[in-house]
């Protein structure tokens, strides 16, 4: 029951992908399924293995174990056919500081044997315009600011029409306008039918642009699916305003719901797994920190909101306000990857 569920083809597919650095398993048995046409958010705290996974997808690093196929072809064996159709930003931009922005792009474009030399200048100019760097095109990259380099890195990924874009933290260092531009750029690329694979730890960003997401934690894939699936697998919250708090708490306890933060502003806040979309457990979740995923849900079941209200009313609770609040991706992310600030080893 993975994201591939829609029956479409997969732009990226990995099986048991692993990478070992010395004693450390930086990536550990990752099974990614990125559907064609999706905007796929690749989430995870620092050091969780996102960039390492991306390096293996692009054939930069060899996998210790497992397989990778990109656009339906095995990587790294078929890189000659795959990579010209893929635009990438890996671990930040990198350029020749002594060349201008445009000269840098021309050089990298010349490295692609499928790139038409006759259209090179035009394509470079178009890419620069797309990221708003036209006026800085002739400036040496040495004199670029962090955000300008980041934009140039994105322009490099857009030099040719691409079927897949792999963007490792594309908004890193960008100003609010730049961030918005990148978001709308990603949307327009997706609208053109490209698949966009973005790694990020900016959850708000992922919530805004992604259709699918996966969460990495300490090298393992702990969740994967469409955004609604991921959110719903997190806990929904019930907010109840009532003068009969004691009675209501009994009812909630009977339904197997747990309190979240007790009373706030005179309202009771309880958490529960609420019906409709249902709980989605991706295959990666078995790897999740035990019990956390559906800790508050009654074992194996969901509670319909209307059933909660009915039970409350039947118990004589005066319901003055009742709301179901969707779990945010952030709740889910923290639940999956832990609260701790320290980098997991």
């Amino acid at each position: 029951m993975t994201a591939a569920g829609r029956g479409g083809e997969l732009a990226i597919e990995t099986h048991g992908l692993s990478k070992r650095f010395g004693h450390q398993l930086a990536v550990d048995g990752v099974d990614l399924s990125v559907p064609k046409g999706s905007v796929f958010g690749f989430l995870g705290p620092n050091g969780s293995g996102k960039t390492t996974t991306i390096r293996m997808l692009l054939g930069l690093a060899g996998a210790t174990d497992g397989s990778v196929s990109v656009l339906g072809l095995e990587m790294p064996d078929r890189f000659r056919e795959v990579l010209p159709r893929v635009g990438a930003l890996v671990e930040g931009p990198a350029f020749y500081p002594f060349l201008s922005g445009a000269a840098n792009l021309r050089r990298l474009d010349a490295a692609d044997p499928h790139a038409e030399a006759s259209t090179r200048r035009a394509r470079v100019d178009a890419a620069l315009e797309r990221v708003g760097l036209t006026h800085a095109a002739g400036k040496k990259v040495r004199a670029y600011s962090l955000g300008m380099k980041q934009r140039l890195g994105i322009a490099n990924a857009l030099l040719s029409p691409r079927e897949l874009l792999v963007l490792d933290e594309p908004t890193n260092g960008l100003d609010p306008q730049g961030t918005r531009e990148v978001r709308s750029l990603v949307r327009s690329l997706a609208a053109d039918g490209a698949t966009v694979f973005v790694s990020s730890h900016l959850l708000a960003e992922v919530e805004q642009i992604c259709t699918h997401a996966a969460v990495m934690s300490a090298g393992r894939l702990v969740a994967q699916g469409t955004l609604p699936e991921l959110r719903d697998a997190g806990k929904a919250r019930i907010r109840l305003v009532t003068p009969d708090a004691g009675l209501a708490e009994d009812v909630f306890a009977r339904l197997g719901m747990t309190p979240v933060g007790g009373r706030s502003n005179g309202a009771l806040v309880y958490s529960a797994s609420v019906g409709e979309a249902g709980v989605q457990a991706g295959p990666g979740q078995k790897a999740g920190p035990g019990g956390r995923t559906d800790g508050a849900a009654p074992a194996g079941g969901e509670v319909e909101p209307e059933a909660i209200v009915a039970a409350l009313v039947a118990a004589g609770v005066r319901v003055r306000g009742f709301a179901v609040e969707q779990g945010s991706l952030e709740d889910r992310f923290v639940a999956l990857t832990g609260e701790g600030f320290d980098i997991a080893q």
Partner: protein
């Protein structure tokens, strides 16, 4: 960008056409980057400064006693074209290997250090193609560097000293035009001499992400090779050192030209290219690009 109905419109992506271009655009780009780079110009200027300083020094001093200083130095005053030969002779042990070490050591490690290596490979340049292009770039520098010394020498020599028929080591006399051809031949000899060192540098460059380390290691290799070549105890090793024929270009200054050392040198350097090229290939195609 018009927002089309999403999902299936893949007009953006035509699959790569059947016939990818050869490596020429990448080679052209490599040469442009190499020879537009200020560092390359600085090295070439430094090389050109050797004959210029030498010629000025000789001109300023009244006379060079025969047999003192580098070979041919005393002949400069009689014929300016000798500045070129003398300067090349002076540059062989250190200056030329130094500059070639910088260029060859920088080939892969320099890209890795900047991080551009990952973008070249994702483009995708192809690891073998990139290695070949990088070596070709270093080889191009090996062509240019001795020529710079030779031509700067001939130029400054012609400016400061008389130019006339040249007496060769064999005693024969050739015209100045023929002498320039010989000068270029000597430069070509040095080019061949430096190709083996370039292959060593290319291999060392695949071992690290720190370009300065690869450059230093390459330069050290050239010094070690020459030092070993000086030790009589290691006589058996001498024919295998890449610097063994470095000073053998005097044969090109005889009439008729003796091509033996040129041929032997070429064979030895080809051996180094094959061995270290294979090592560089073995290392680079399996390397994890983590820079």
């Amino acid at each position: 960008m018009t927002s089309t109905d999403g999902a299936v419109d893949v007009r953006a992506a035509e699959p790569p056409s059947g016939r990818p271009s050869s490596g020429w655009p990448l080679l052209a780009s490599e040469l442009t980057v190499l020879f537009r780079r200020r560092r390359t110009w600085a090295m070439m200027l430094a090389l050109a400064a050797v004959p210029v300083l030498m010629a000025i020094a000789v001109r300023a001093s009244s006379a060079v006693p025969p047999g003192r200083g580098p070979a041919f130095l005393d002949r400069i005053t009689q014929n300016g074209l000798f500045v070129g030969v003398t300067a090349m002779l002076v540059c062989v042990p250190l200056f030329l290997p130094l500059t070639v070490g910088v260029v060859a050591g920088d080939t892969i490690a320099g890209e890795a250090g900047l991080g551009t290596l990952r973008y070249l490979l994702v483009a995708p340049a192809g690891r073998v193609r990139l290695l070949l292009v990088k070596y070709a770039g270093a080889a191009a520098f090996c062509i240019v560097a001795p020529l710079v010394v030779a031509l700067a020498g001939a130029g400054i020599g012609a400016a400061l000293f008389p130019v006339g028929p040249v007496t060769l080591l064999s005693g024969d006399v050739i015209t100045p035009e023929e002498a320039v051809v010989r000068l270029v031949l000597v430069a070509a000899y040095l080019t061949v001499s430096l190709l083996g060192l370039s292959a060593v540098g290319l291999f060392l460059s695949t071992l690290t992400d720190v370009p300065v380390g690869a450059m230093a290691a390459t330069i050290v290799a050239s010094v070690v090779s020459q030092v070993l070549g000086e030790l009589p105890q290691l006589e058996w090793l001498h024919p295998w050192l890449f610097s063994h024929y470095w000073f053998g270009f005097a044969d090109l200054l005889r009439q008729p030209i003796a091509w033996d050392s040129f041929g032997n040198n070429a064979l030895l350097q080809a051996g180094y290219i094959a061995v270290f090229g294979a090592l560089a290939y073995g290392r680079f195609v399996t390397k994890d690009i983590l820079s």
